[in-house]
Amino acid sequence: MTSKSLGAKILAISILLGLTIIYLLPIYVMVATSLKTPEEISQGQYLLPTGTPQWSNYTEVLFGSTRFRSEMITRLKNSIVISFSVTALAAFFGGLSGYYLSRNKSIFSRSLFVLVGIGLYLPYQVVIIPLSILMSKTGLNQSYAGLIMSYLILNMPLATVLLGTFFLGIPKELEEAALVDGASKIQIFFRIVVPISLPAYASVAIIVFTQVWNEFFLALTLSSRNTQTVQVIMAEAKGTTLVLYNLQMAAALIAVSIPLFFFFFLSRYFVRGILAGALKGG
């Protein structure tokens, strides 16, 4: 049911053009500014692709310099370790509990589902004080374990519901047949259910990874010098020192590179993941 009239075409072209400008401009600005000198920026010369690209801005941001004291490379490593660990553990544990909730309709299971559902939208502000006490009491705030643990607590409900939703759609006949053959539930889960659910695991992994990578409130409060994530260092660079905009934009580009890579190259799983994330339980 597409429109073919001239008026409709003009309208469509103007909407598409408008969206293109609104959505490409910030990205263009980020890339263009990140390659400029401070002089070009103060003279308002940073929007045109003129001048020599300052690739050294990126090495400054990655490895530190007098203009950018907080080198990004160690924070990239921190973010990578934390995000990948949380993703793997949340997918593994969330799969187990999601399977239970999808196969068991008892009152107990229903009540658990409600508890999980409330956990899905829990504002971090209501758990942050005890978490920070626990982390500093146990000394976990000095290591990755503290942040990984905290993120797991908050991402388990999401992984559980997303994977459970997928398991609901798997016909039970296969599992019933295996049961008759004497397989245990654990065997059934790992040998039958998990292998056919790998696409769902991929989607869940991408959404959990992106969420943890981009998370700021918890990272700001719970991370120490050794575990700071890229988001925290960006906020620090912007807030405390007079970091130049070209370096800020280079840092921004480095910080979004990994999630954007997933978005463009695994877009099918990515879109499925955020859609499932939104349509949880539906």
């Binding site: 049911m1 073919k4 075409k9 469509a12 909407i15 598409l16 910030p26 600005v29 003279q43 308002g44 929007l47 187990l96 509990s97 239970y100 068991n104 658990l112 409600v114 559902g117 956990g119 939208y121 829990l122 504002p123 971090y124 502000q125 209501v126 758990v127 004080i129 005890p130 607590i153 388990m156 559980t160 599992e175 019933e176 008759v180 245990s184 539930k185 654990i186 992106t210 998370e215 700021f216 409130f217 700001l220 409060t221 988001q231 912007k238 800020q248 979004v256 999630p259 954007l260 978005f263 463009f264 877009s267 990515f270 879109v271 859609l275 939104a278 349509l279 949880k280 339980g281 539906g282």
Partner: protein
């Protein structure tokens, strides 16, 4: 035969003690921590903890009363209301029209281009978008004013400097970031066979496009709208990152929001009980906001 079937069905549901532990152990462990910390925060909000050192002596509603009298809390409520209204209604409305536009577009080949174009910001953090948009909004030689001057216009927008309008510019960043996400949720609820058939039939009957949108499509995508609106409500209620990175609540406290107040009260002023109280308030409001959605999800999960 019937008896046998019944027995099998209960077999797939019934688990041994050991199996229960494997499947549910991790979830129960993390849920215990989640709800344990939640209860702990609620308890702290009723204590008298207002220095670096913990104090678990009960003080009743003392710190809630403190919050109610605090002018900053009133500014937060107004700002959070602005976020709720302007972050949700325009985003959802534009998303509906845009999703419909993509369905009707005379250039169907551009559909995936448009989707990618408006969707990529969901992969970025608010910290990154906040950083970029701070530069867009920078009044002296920032992007938008420079562009306007380049076009021969005045280009003297104050953006985040003007305390009266700063919050609106912040909300615009949020709308920019969430629009694509909203569009794909609406799009996916458009694409049911029943709805497509109804639209087909109405088109054959000669109904206008807008009429189809309001009379046929909107009443039939209620579930999608419920999900979208709930998600946007929660996100705007919890908003923290954008404000922290762009204005940090300023100028003055004109762009302050509940979540930012909570963080500063707790971790900078060490009025921990008051901070816990703010956390509890945010939690209660978000809890109420997601009730309709949770009921919907629960029904869907256990009845399908």
């Amino acid at each position: 035969m019937a008896k046998r079937n019944k027995k099998r069905k209960s077999n797939i549901e019934r688990m041994t003690w050991h199996e229960n532990l494997v499947f549910l152990g991790p979830l129960l462990f993390f849920l215990a921590l989640l709800y344990g910390t939640l209860m702990w925060t609620i308890y702290v909000s009723f204590t008298d903890w207002h220095t670096m050192a913990p104090n678990y002596e009960l003080a009743g509603l003392k710190w809630y009363q403190f919050l109610i009298k605090q002018p900053r809390f009133h500014i937060d409520i107004i700002n959070n209301l602005k976020w709720l209204l302007l972050g949700v209604i325009p985003t959802a409305t534009v998303a509906i029209f845009l999703a419909y536009f993509l369905e009707l577009s005379p250039f169907p080949r551009l559909e995936s281009y448009t989707r990618t174009l408006i969707l990529y910001p969901v992969a970025m953090s608010f910290i990154v978008t906040g950083t970029i948009w701070s530069w867009m909004y920078q009044p002296d030689n920032g992007v938008i004013n420079t562009l306007l001057r380049g076009l021969g216009l005045k280009g003297d927008f104050a953006f985040l400097i003007n305390p009266k309008t700063a919050t609106y510019w912040l909300i615009l960043i949020f709308v920019w970031q969430y629009l694509g996400f909203a569009v794909i949720i609406i799009q996916s609820s458009f694409r049911t066979t029943e709805l497509q058939e109804m639209i087909e039939a109405a088109t054959v009957d000669g109904a206008g496009r807008l009429r189809i949108l309001f009379v046929i499509i909107l009443p039939n995508i209620k579930a999608g709208l419920l999900i979208l609106v709930s998600l946007l409500l929660i996100s705007t209620l919890k908003v923290f990152d954008i404000v922290f990175i762009t204005t940090n609540g300023g100028p003055g406290i004109s762009t302050d929001v509940l979540a930012l107040n909570m963080w500063m009260t707790t971790f900078q002023q060490h009025l921990v009980s008051a901070g816990a109280g703010l956390g509890v308030i945010i939690f209660l409001v978000s809890f109420i906001l997601v009730i309709p959605y949770t009921i919907y999800a629960l029904r869907k999960w256990f009845n399908d």
